[in-house]
Each structure stands twice: as structure tokens, then as C-alpha cells.
Subunit: 318 residues, 2 copies
């Protein structure tokens, strides 16, 4: 069902203050094998995506790089006033893409951190990309001590705005909680292990291993909820309710506490459908008007096996 | 032993991304009484210290405001190139000081957040200012559910660099863990309660209450420890060890794990004296070369009572 994954990119520092990815990319670059010594079945490109933002330890310098990979932005006009991140997105598109073309790398794994208590999440634009789903399943089994989840952003490819959309396959690995501008050993170590497992899976796949199909749990993003704000100043007037804080992926029911205003009042969830909250109190989303996101959970069915064309020497991993 | 505390300042947003203080100051300003309705024994000034940094949700715009209140910086020359925060420190010195003068406000309480797991700390430049020590003792008793500690920075007044040094008495209230750029309800609520208790104490004191003396525990800062760094790039090469992370105020013994390098090696504490770590993995201190601070603990002795001159109508709080 798929050719080899012969070109894989591991990217970090797409947001310059999400430090696990920044330091992991630097570490991987130190130990990167010269091309001639590389595994013949896969070449791995390790990329620091936004070096200028990393230098300043900020999410971005002029505009959010990880919103620049839409078809429109990648192909828009360029001038002296083009923000650094838009120029950089085009450089990355040349290096790893072009997006949507046969030249694009086979898989992009982009490393992120969140202040939300989300454990390890794979975030992808597809709920039927069997490469991504099999990698997810493999991570879940290899990392039983931490919650591993799959979030699906249901956008068409042209509108997909983030770096991983440049690859033929791709996902973000989002790990938290970790404050931006801080690296915590436990989060760094989890990310390092996660990337190692992804690369192990790629090598197993390329060498002909057959991965059994099965059902996986997918969270599909439904909507975002903003903070209550002052109508004049636009300043927020409440924080996430203490009963909701850190409860990512715990079902939120109608009338559950959602916010606590700064004067102490409880505001409740007015939606009619119970949904799963995630990105609860993510630092970078205050400016985007997102206090939390809500998802619907489903189980993908199907017996689709993942295997490379090399199955003459295959073994089965269930 | 002390006159009335008739002018008190509560400041927040001295660091623009420490959001509990920012939102608490805004909330207090909303409910501030007009001057004519104020308690006749105390006037309270509520100040957003660095509005430009708050606007940008950054610690500072050009230089760290909370390092600008030394005698030298407050009294240095001014030009067109003077950083915003130095100009602002002089405005605040005019409003709340001048530092060291009889016109200075009686008490400054400056609100801060840290990414370190420090609970609530009072940080002051004196270990024998009985106003600060009595307020500390009062907070400890009023807030039994959270750890309340007193940190002493042993600097002479002229070299004291932070905002609270402008008042006749003063301390920072530092509460964590909270990521910068994020407000967490539990931390905000703790800060709000802390400030309320401080103001209660001030009103008790001003109305003649006698506070019994006694011993309190004080952590005096001894030294800072930086991250291991690459000698060429100056980039950090290790994170706080997972066994030390979040263990603020737990005694660090010689040979205890201190850092874990990004390649996985454990580096140990080489000091000879067991000391108490704090500000472990504080976000803003990466750029200052501080991975953690170390303190010696002592118990102040003495039977010094705090009371205002009004003790004709006093009651005793032990």
C-alpha cells in the first residue's frame, strides 16, 4: 500500500521557545551520521526550523511560522516587507517539499511543546493516513507509561497551515506540560524516546515488517472556545476553571465548570454535546483567542495493514 | 517600634508576562475605592509597573525593570537612548519613593510568578525587618494549605535592585509554579488571598493589634548555579535533573543529581555544604545564567513584638 519511507525529516524549533524540540534537534544534529554512513533505506534530515526565533527564545519573530504552510502563503508574492517567517516557510518548502509534489520528503515529524497537560499527542491532518496511524499505534504500545493520543485537524491539504503538511506524510509531536522557554528533563526524555520509536518504526517498515491493522482512537477537533473578554479592552476576564485545568481529554459535559472569573465567579460550558477538551490553557493561544479546543472521539475501524513493498523478508508486528 | 503603615503600594506586572500579578492588579484597580471612601488609616496604591511589557506579554521590552532600582541606575544620566524600563523605574521611584527618603511609601508588595515549584515566597532584602517577618508569619498561619517561605537576599539597600526596595519596607510575593504568559486559577486565587491577608495584617497593625514575637524560618540566598554550557555557543547542554526538578526547598546534599545532559548523563552537585535549592528551572533565569539558587536556612530568634503606636486599643494576635 505504500512505497518506502526513504526520506524523513525531524524538525524542531518551529516555535523558538518550545525547548524540548530545540535541544533534541541540536542533540540529533551532533550525532547525525555523515551521508555515506547512513542507513541505506532511509535518509534523515534534522532541521532547526526557525533559527531566528530560537536565538531570541520566542515563538516567532514576526508571524507564526507554523501558520505559513498553506498553499496561498507559500505561493504569495514576496517583497522587502515579507515577514521573516514567510520567507523561511518558503525555504523550508524548497528543502522539504515542494508541498504536494512528488519531490516532497516522505515523512515530516515536527516537534512541539505545550503548556497544556496533554501528554504526547500526534497531530495530523488526516484520520486515514495509515502511515501516521500505524506510527501512533506503535508509539502507544512502546510507551505504556505516558498517555499517547492522536488528534485530527480536519482541513483540506491546501489549507493545512503547519510544517508537517509539506511532507507526503506528516504529523506534529506535541508534548506537555512544559512552560515555553523552559526545558524539563522528563518532557525532553519523552520526546527523545518518541522520536527514536518513530525512526524504529520507519526502519521496520522499510525493511518489510508487516504491521497488523486494527482500531485506533482518534480525537477530531470540533471547535475552539475563547476566554471571556472585556468588550472594550479585549483583555481576558477569567482563567480556566481549576476543576478543568490540566484535565485535557477528560470528557467535558454540558454545564461543567469552564472558567473562573478574576472576581471569583464560575462560568459553565454551555454546549449541548459532551466533548473532549485539549490544549487547555496553552500559553501561545491567548493571542489566538483559544482558551481550549474541543474534540469528538471516534474509533477508526478497518483491518488495513501497513507494509512496504519489501514483504519478501517481512515479519509481523501486532 | 514602628509608626503606622499609612501608605501601601501593591504592584504587579513588573514583569509583563507574570500574569497572576497583572490580572490581580487589574481586578484590584476595578474595585479600588475612591480616595474619599478609603480606610482612614491606610491608603493603598495599586500599580501596574510595566504597562508596555504587559501589553506585549513579555518580561520586559528593553531591560529587566526589576533590576533597575539600584541607587546607581535610579540616579544615572538620562538620554534619548535610555531604555524604557530605566525611564519607567525613575517614574516609579517618583511615585513610590524616592528610595531611601522619608517620602517613600511605607510598604511595597510586588507580585511575581515563577515557573519553579516554590509555593508562596516572600522575598526581601532584610532578615530583621520585623514588619516583613510578622507579615510572613501571619501569611503562614492564615494559609496553612500552601507552603509559605521567606527568602532573604543579603544585599545592602543601595545595591538592592528590585522594586520593593523603593519602599520603607517591602517584599516581593513570588508564587509558582505557573508558566509565564499563562494564568492558572489556583495560583491567581492564592495570590489574591495572600494580598488580602497582607492588607488585613496592615489594618490590624494600624489599629493597634499587638503581634507576638517568635522564631521564624528564613532562607538566605548563598549562591547561584548555572547550567552546563557549550564553551563555544554558550548554549546549555543539560537540563535540571528529573530528581531535582520541582524539589524546591528540599535539602540538596553533596553528590546529589543536579543536571541531566541532553545525551543522558547525570551530573552531580559538587558543593561541600548541603543547601536548600530554590528557583529551580525558572524560565527567566536561563538568560541570567541561573539554573537554580541555593540558600542556607536559619531560624531568627527574638521576642520582638510588632505593634503600632496605637496600642491603647490593642488586642494580641499570636
Amino acid at each position: 500500500m505504500c512505497t518506502l519511507l526513504s526520506r524523513v525529516a525531524v524538525c524542531g524549533g518551529t516555535h523558538g521557545n518550545e525547548l524540548s524540540g530545540v535541544y533534541l534537534v541540536r542533540e540529533l544534529q551532533k550525532t547525525e551520521k555523515p551521508l555515506e554512513e547512513e542507513d541505506e533505506l532511509v535518509s534523515v534530515l534534522v532541521v532547526l526550523s526557525n533559527p531566528r526565533a530560537v536565538q531570541q527564545c520566542r515563538r516567532y519573530t514576526e508571524t507564526d511560522l507554523n501558520r505559513c504552510f498553506t498553499h496561498a502563503t507559500l505561493n504569495g508574492p514576496e517583497s522587502d516587507k515579507t515577514p521573516y517567517e514567510i520567507t523561511r516557510s518558503r525555504e523550508l518548502n524548497s528543502l522539504l517539499g515542494p508541498k504536494g509534489s512528488p519531490e516532497a520528503v516522505d515523512l515530516i515529524c515536527d516537534l512541539h511543546n505545550t503548556t497544556a497537560n496533554m501528554g504526547l499527542c500526534l497531530i495530523a491532518y488526516s484520520d486515514h493516513d495509515w502511515i501516521c496511524l500505524h506510527i501512533f499505534r506503535y508509539l502507544q504500545r512502546q510507551m505504556p507509561d505516558i498517555p499517547v493520543r492522536y488528534i485530527h485537524f480536519d482541513f483540506p491539504p491546501k489549507e493545512a497551515y503547519s510544517l508537517e503538511s509539506v511532507g507526503k506524510h506528516g504529523f506534529a509531536i506535541e508534548i506537555g506540560p512544559q512552560p515555553h522557554g523552559v526545558v524539563r528533563s522528563n518532557i525532553y526524555t519523552t520526546m527523545k524516546a518518541g522520536v527514536q520509536h518513530v525512526m524504529d518504526w520507519v526502519r521496520f517498515f522499510n525493511s518489510g515488517t508487516i504491521f497488523e491493522g486494527g482500531s485506533v482512537e482518534v480525537y477530531t477537533m470540533v471547535k475552539n472556545i475563547d476566554y471571556p473578554r472585556d468588550s472594550e479592552t479585549h483583555s481576558i476576564t477569567a482563567a480556566i476553571h481549576p476543576q478543568l485545568q490540566d484535565q485535557d481529554f477528560c470528557l467535558l459535559h454540558p454545564n461543567d465548570p469552564l472558567f473562573q472569573t478574576f472576581s471569583g465567579e464560575t462560568l459553565r460550558y454551555k454546549g449541548k454535546e459532551p466533548l473532549y477538551p485539549f490544549f487547555i490553557n496553552e500559553c501561545a493561544y491567548y493571542e489566538k483567542g483559544i482558551a481550549l479546543s474541543l474534540a469528538r472521539r471516534k474509533f477508526t475501524n478497518g483491518e488495513c495493514r501497513a507494509h512496504s513493498p519489501w514483504f519478501h523478508n517481512s515479519k509481523v508486528i501486532q
